[in-house]
Structures are given as C-alpha cells and as structure tokens.
C-alpha cells in the first residue's frame, strides 16, 4: 500500500504541489481522481470511445506540462475542463481541416452511441423513451456549431455554474448568458427541423405527436 492510498484526503492543491516537486505518484492520484469526470466530459463531445481516451491522455499530458502555470485562485477542475475543451475543439478543427470528418449516418451513430441498446451499470434495461431521447438529443447537439455545442455540454450535461463555465471558456458571465441563450435557441430550432413530431409534456417527459 502506498502512502497516497492511506492519505486519500489530500487536496488538489497538495497534489499539485507534490507533482511540481517531482512526485509521479501524486500525478497518478490526480489522474485517478479526475479520469471519470474527464471521460464523461469528452464523451459528450465525441462519440468515438477511442477518441475519448486519446483526448483524455492528451489532456492529462498537457496538465502535467502546464501545471506550473496553474493559478490556484480557481478550482482545478475548471482549469482541467478548459484544457479539455480546447484540446477537443482543436482536435475536431484539425480533423475537419484534414477532411477526415466523415458524416456519420444514423446506423453508425447507433453503433457507437454509448449505452444505447445496452444494459446500464446496474444491469437493468434502460427505458426506451429515455434512451431514445438521449440519442435524439445527441444527434441534434451534433448539428450545432462548436461554441454552442460546448456551452450546452458544460451547462446541461456537466451542470456547471455560469461562473465556472466562464472560467472554462475564458469569457465573461454575460457572454455565457447570451451564448447559452443562443445555443438553446439553435438547439430548439434544430430539434424542430429534425424531430418536428417530438413535443414536450408538462410532466417533464417527451412524446411523439401522432
């Protein structure tokens, strides 16, 4: 058992200090602490699981390289998210430039969508409507420009406060508010175009209007 394993209460600041002093095990602990969260974020930005892992690796390596520049006046995870969002968006832009961004058809999306058609962690079947809704949402989200997709992922999936989103995107809270408003509007328009039959009910669920 390592010293880190018997001191799980080490704060991010402690770990960062130790990493800057050359502790590899502290970096290992930081990776372990934030892997799930980072994989969650990246999986909302791309459906390709292999790509998620590659991006996560790139993000952690950047974190290690730039850790000395981290200003500890904000939470580490917002800094991590900033690197993750920039890394992912740079990657998508490069991919687009190289014309490797293939248009995914619905069948490919079904095949790659995480969790679709599979049992959840508890082994129980996911209700069809929720699963369908999740897939529709992802499809619509994928049609949005990057800046709108990113802010919706941060707010709606990651449940981040405006203040934290502003730190991740390096913009003002006012920009977050207006961009989020436009992103939601664009999402709603895309939803209308792609799934005009889908209407919300006041119980918070969705149904098809037929």
């Amino acid at each position: 058992m390592t010293a880190l394993q018997i001191m799980p209460e080490r704060t991010d600041a402690d770990l960062i200090e130790a990493i800057l002093d050359g502790s590899e095990s502290a970096f290992e602990t930081l990776i372990e602490r934030y892997s799930d969260r980072l994989f969650g974020l990246l999986s909302r930005m791309t459906r390709d699981r292999g790509e998620v892992e590659d991006l996560a690796q790139e993000v952690f390596v950047k974190v290690f390289r730039k850790l000395g520049t981290f200003q500890q006046d904000s939470a580490f995870y917002t800094w991590l998210y900033r690197i993750a969002v920039n890394t992912a968006n740079d990657h998508f832009a490069r991919r687009k430039r190289r014309r490797l961004h293939l248009v995914e058809d619905d069948a490919a999306l079904d095949a790659q969508a995480p969790g679709v058609g599979e049992p959840d962690h508890a082994g129980a079947a996911i209700p069809l409507l929720e699963e369908e809704l999740r897939e529709v949402t992802r499809q619509v989200l994928d049609t949005l420009p990057e800046k709108y997709r990113t802010i919706l992922v941060l707010r709606e999936y990651e449940d981040m406060a405006y203040n934290d989103i502003a730190k991740v995107l390096e913009c003002s809270i006012g920009t977050v508010e207006s961009r989020l408003f436009r992103a939601r509007h664009r999402f709603k328009e895309a939803l209308e175009r792609k799934h005009p039959d889908l209407v919300p009910s006041r119980s918070g669920t969705y149904r098809r209007s037929n």
Binding site: E24, S35, R44, F60, R65, Y162
Partner: protein
C-alpha cells in the same frame, strides 16, 4: 424567430424580450441571487408568457439526460505517465516561458541520454579503428615477411638505364 406555443421544447412566446428569456434561463439554471429570484417569482405569478418561457426552458434542459460515460482502459494511467515522462521538466518549461523563448524540444535528461549515446558510439568507433589499424599493421608485417623486395626509385632508374645500354650496345 419562429417560436409559437405548439413548437417543441424551450419555446418562449414571441412577445417576450430576449432579456426576459435570458432571465428565464438564469432562473431555471439557479443562477439568480435570492433577491432577483424573489422578484422574478413575483413576475412569474402574473406573467403567463414568462411562465411559458420558464417551462420551455425546463423542458429543454430535461432533454439532456447523460448516458454512462466510457471508463478508462486498463493501461490508460500507465500510458499517460509514460507520455508525461517523455516531456521536458516543468522547471525547464517555466524557465523558457519566462525568458520568452520556445520550450526546449528535449529535456536535460534526454540531452544527457543523447550525450551518453554519442559517447558510446564514439567508443565503439575508436575500438573499431584500433582493431582495423591493428589488422592493417599485421598485414604489412605479413607482406614484409613474405620475402618481396622493394627498390627505390633511383635503383629502378639505374636498372632501366643499364638495360637500355645493353640493348643499344652493338653486338
């Protein structure tokens, strides 16, 4: 905008200003301070359009149901650590960044490794040189031992002249 009451999620009414719709978003997202929130709730009780915007916003947010995220593979951490080990030291980076220069391509450790590799190559080259030099020297000795005689340029010249003289000499 094409908003109307029978459109899908997140559709506020046409007569609502953008500021009010942003406010509705902030309300649903829990971003309003207590005082603003109380004032907004008071408006909501009397403004059906605002209430519709809030409902639409809440419906839209309800669409984003996060699925299970993929888990890191077994070797993920090891790969990250291996990649991080190949990076320049953070001190080198910060020093180069503070001096306004580009980050070094290789770290001091890597440079040391390169120097060691160069020295190893140099030693091997020297050993090979000594070996071939020795072989060549041994070859020269063998040639000397083979009994072959060497004449100087003058001796050859003299011999040639002697032979010429013999040929020209009348019989």
């Amino acid at each position: 905008m094409t908003d109307s009451h029978d459109t899908p999620a997140g559709t506020p009414r046409e007569d609502l200003s953008e500021a009010d719709r942003i406010l509705a978003g902030r309300f649903v997202d829990g971003e309003l301070p207590a005082k603003e929130r109380a004032a907004f709730e008071a408006r909501l009780a009397e403004d059906a359009a605002l209430q519709a915007a809030v409902d639409g916003q809440a419906d839209l947010s309800a669409m984003f149901v996060p699925g299970p995220a993929p888990q890191p593979s077994a070797g993920f951490r090891a790969r990250v650590l291996a990649a991080a080990r190949r990076l320049p030291d953070s001190e080198e980076l910060s020093a180069s960044q503070s001096s306004g220069h580009q980050a070094p391509v290789v770290s001091l450790a890597t440079q040391r490794a390169h120097i060691e590799a160069f020295c190893r190559r140099l030693l091997v080259a020297a050993a090979l040189l000594i070996l071939f030099g020795g072989l060549a020297w041994a070859g020269i000795l063998r040639q000397a031992d083979s009994g072959q005689l060497e004449a100087s340029r003058d001796e050859i010249q003299q011999e040639m002249e002697r032979l010429d003289a013999l040929i020209r000499e009348p019989r």
